[in-house]
Amino acid sequence: MIPLQHFLVLSGVLFSLGIYGVLARRHAVLILMSVELMLQAVNINMIAFAVYFDPEAFVGLIFAIFIITIAAAEVGLALAIVLRIFRNRATANVDEVNIMKW
């Protein structure tokens, strides 16, 4: 059996990539994709722990399904916002969407 640490390292790497993407990317759609990456990293974590510590119970697995659901909803919402911004300002570059300041 693959040791738990491998899953955790994979999850950590994915999560870090996600954070890097969120911080470094400028395009709204790419940022959203990075956010998805982070969410899936968490999912891997969940399932790994669930299978290793309590294989009989479904708690961790159910959590994973919830996270996937919420992620889907969130992306739907976020993409709609991005679409509106693009329609209005002809750009999806977050650097240029900066009216929410003092």
Binding site: I19, V22, L23, A24, R26, I31, V94, D95, V97, N98, I99, M100, K101, W102
Partner: protein, 635 residues
């Protein structure tokens, strides 16, 4: 429903409801709704009669009886909306409902044609409501609220003609002067509450009698008692807080009759009577203070009354004089004498005010130097005023005589011959100045023919209350006799009905009775001697003692002393405080902290860049820092 003492709350409810109705809809009613006010007055008197009948049916030990509701309920603080009746209350109720109704009726004549006719009756209703609440309250806090309620009504009514600067000033003076005493009263009430944990009057009295808790400490009890008395002294115009009452005559005369003669000003006497067991339980010095201030007040007011020339002001000073006498009686523990004087005084002083109001109404003049010889023109007013003045002077067998007799007898019980002599002397002076004012206004030759020609008898709606009050002035003193009391359904005379500790069967003390009668007759006889003709003998006396005359004429310079005190102490102190408030509290404290916040906000707003990556970085950095901190704490 059976009407009785448990329904005493109906009294303020009736007038209070009328007040609210008049306030909201008064201007849509014909005549400003004065008929409603008169109706409410009569209704309170009828309810009072039911309550009195009920009171006579129950044994005395079960008093006070009443009804109350929880109003505010906290842990350790219970405030009740309770109304109760005992025998002292019933005397006050008699005065307030009876004299009150008569004066409301009289006002419909006196105030006719006034631009704020309806408003007058509205405030009058509020006053009667407050007064009834004050009288019926079963706890000190409700009493205090009503106490301030009558104060504000007094303010509104003294300043009723506030276009006149002097009226506005007088209203302000009355309110502020009585407030000084009221602060004492409030502190006193709080002290009693702190000691007993209750505002209930009966419970406080019981605690004081048994010396429970903090009230067992003589100094504490005496201090609290004296503070209560400070409130009473302010409301009842005792030296040195008496200065507001003469100025209060700026108000319409029915107001002077109701508030500043019959009801509000005797609230202090009522309070002390009600709390008499507390005064008795306190150090004797508390009662000595009551007596001493009573005497000072009596003599100051009597002396000033001798030289005043305004008919209403003389009556006002005679009121202060009477209030002093009531406190002298209370100082000798004689609730009987004080309450009897309060009752009869309510009748004859209201009569005197309303009669002088009738003069003012007819002549538009209240300086006696312009009056004179009015009795032929205004016979009813003249004769009723005469009877009122004689009752105030204390001539037998009018009511004032019996009341003063009770006070003198009470002083004799105290075995204090000097005080007795002083009180008898004050009776003599009272007779002089009451005789003088009647003599100058109604007898002799008219001094101003213009005014005299204008004089005419007042309408029946004004003279009728005068006649009713005159009848009561004539007979109300007889209730001291057991036979009269029994005929009316009481257990006996007044002394067996209202008393402190022991009931007292009336017995006539010949030496005092004849002595005071001689003093009165001597005083009255001196009047034509001094003020007959052009009054040159009185002038001669004044010129013989110019300094004394000047001192009395200027009311012992009390107003001037207060003015100097205000200018030198109060205004200087308040100037310093105002400077502190403006510069330190306002500019530095309030504006300063606001400035700091604004500046900080101005600087901090640049954190909001609007750049999404910045926010994302802040979140990520925050999470990492939290993780580092959690790691550091864990290991």
């Amino acid at each position: 429903m059976e009407l009785g003492m448990e329904q005493a709350w109906l009294l303020p409810a009736i007038t209070g409801g009328t007040f609210a109705f008049l306030l909201l809809f008064g201007k849509y009613l014909p005549r400003g709704g004065d008929f409603l006010a008169v109706g409410a007055g009569v209704a309170t008197f009828v309810v009072f009669l039911f309550i009195l009948t009920d009171l006579l049916d129950v044994p005395r030990e079960s008093l006070p009886i009443g009804k109350g509701w929880d109003w505010v309920s906290f842990e350790g603080l219970e405030i009740r909306l309770g109304f109760e009746v005992d025998e002292i209350t019933i005397v006050m109720l008699a005065v307030v409902t009876f004299v009150g109704s008569l004066i409301v009726l009289y006002s419909t004549g006196y105030m006719r044609g006034d631009p704020r006719y309806g408003w007058f009756f509205t405030v009058l209703m509020l006053f009667i409501t407050s007064m009834l609440t004050l009288v019926l309250a079963d706890n000190l806090l409700l009493l205090y609220a009503a106490w301030e309620g009558v104060g504000i009504c007094s303010f509104l009514l003294i300043g009723f003609w506030h276009e006149r600067r002097s009226a506005a000033e007088a209203a302000k003076k009355a309110f502020i002067t009585t407030r000084i005493g009221d602060v004492g009263l409030l502190i006193g009430i709080i002290l009693f509450w702190r000691a007993t944990g209750t505002f209930d009057i009966s419970e406080i009295i019981e605690a004081a009698e048994h010396g429970e808790g903090l009230l067992g400490d003589g100094t504490y009890l005496t201090l609290a008692t004296l503070l209560l008395f400070a409130g009473a002294a302010g409301k009842s115009a005792q030296f040195p807080l008496h200065v507001w009452l003469p100025d209060a005559m700026e108000g319409p005369t029915p107001v002077s009759a109701l508030i500043h003669a019959a009801t509000m000003v005797v609230a202090g006497v009522y309070l002390v009577s009600r709390m008499m067991p507390v005064f008795a339980a306190a150090d004797p010095i508390a009662l000595d203070v009551v007596t001493a201030l009573g005497f000072i007040t009596v003599f100051i007011s009597a002396a000033i009354g001798l030289v005043q020339t305004d008919i209403k002001r003389v009556v006002a000073y005679s009121t202060i004089n009477s209030l002093g006498l009531m406190f002298i009686a209370l100082g000798s523990l004689s609730v009987t004498a004080a309450m009897l004087y309060l009752l009869t005084h309510g009748f004859f002083k209201a009569l005197l005010f309303m009669a002088s109001g009738s003069v003012i109404h007819a002549t538009e003049e209240q300086e006696v130097s312009k009056l004179g010889g009015l009795i032929k023109k205004m016979p009813i007013t003249g004769w009723t005023f005469a009877i009122g003045a004689l009752a105030m002077a204390g001539l037998a067998p009018l009511s004032g005589y019996w009341a003063k007799d009770e006070i003198l007898v009470a002083l004799e019980h105290e075995q204090n011959i000097i005080l007795l002599a002083l009180a008898s002397f004050s009776v003599f002076i009272t007779a002089i100045y009451m005789g003088r004012i009647f003599y100058l206004a109604f007898l002799g030759e008219p001094r101003d023919h213009h005014v005299h020609d204008r004089a005419h008898e007042s309408p029946p709606v004004m003279t009728m209350p005068l006649v009713v009050l005159t009848a009561l002035t004539l007979v109300s003193g007889f209730i001291v006799f057991s036979g009269v009391g029994e005929a009316l359904g009481f257990d006996g005379g007044f002394g067996e009905f209202v008393y402190f500790e022991e009931p007292e069967v009336f017995h006539f003390d010949w030496i005092i009775g004849i002595g005071s009668l001689i003093a009165v007759i001597a005083g009255l006889a001196a009047v034509p001697y001094f003020w007959g003709g052009t009054g040159e003998r009185a002038h001669a006396v004044a010129q013989q003692f110019p300094w004394a005359y000047k001192l009395v004429k200027n009311k012992f310079y009390m107003d001037e002393i207060y003015q100097v005190f205000l200018d030198r102490v109060v205004f200087v102190l308040s100037g310093i405080l105002a400077w502190f408030d403006r510069n330190v509290v306002n500019d530095t404290g309030v504006d300063g902290s606001a400035m700091i916040t604004r500046l900080a906000g101005y600087r901090a707003k640049f954190v909001q860049t609007g750049q999404l990556p910045n926010y994302a970085f802040a979140i990520a950095f925050g999470v990492i820092m939290l993780a580092v901190i959690a790691f550091a704490v864990e290991f």
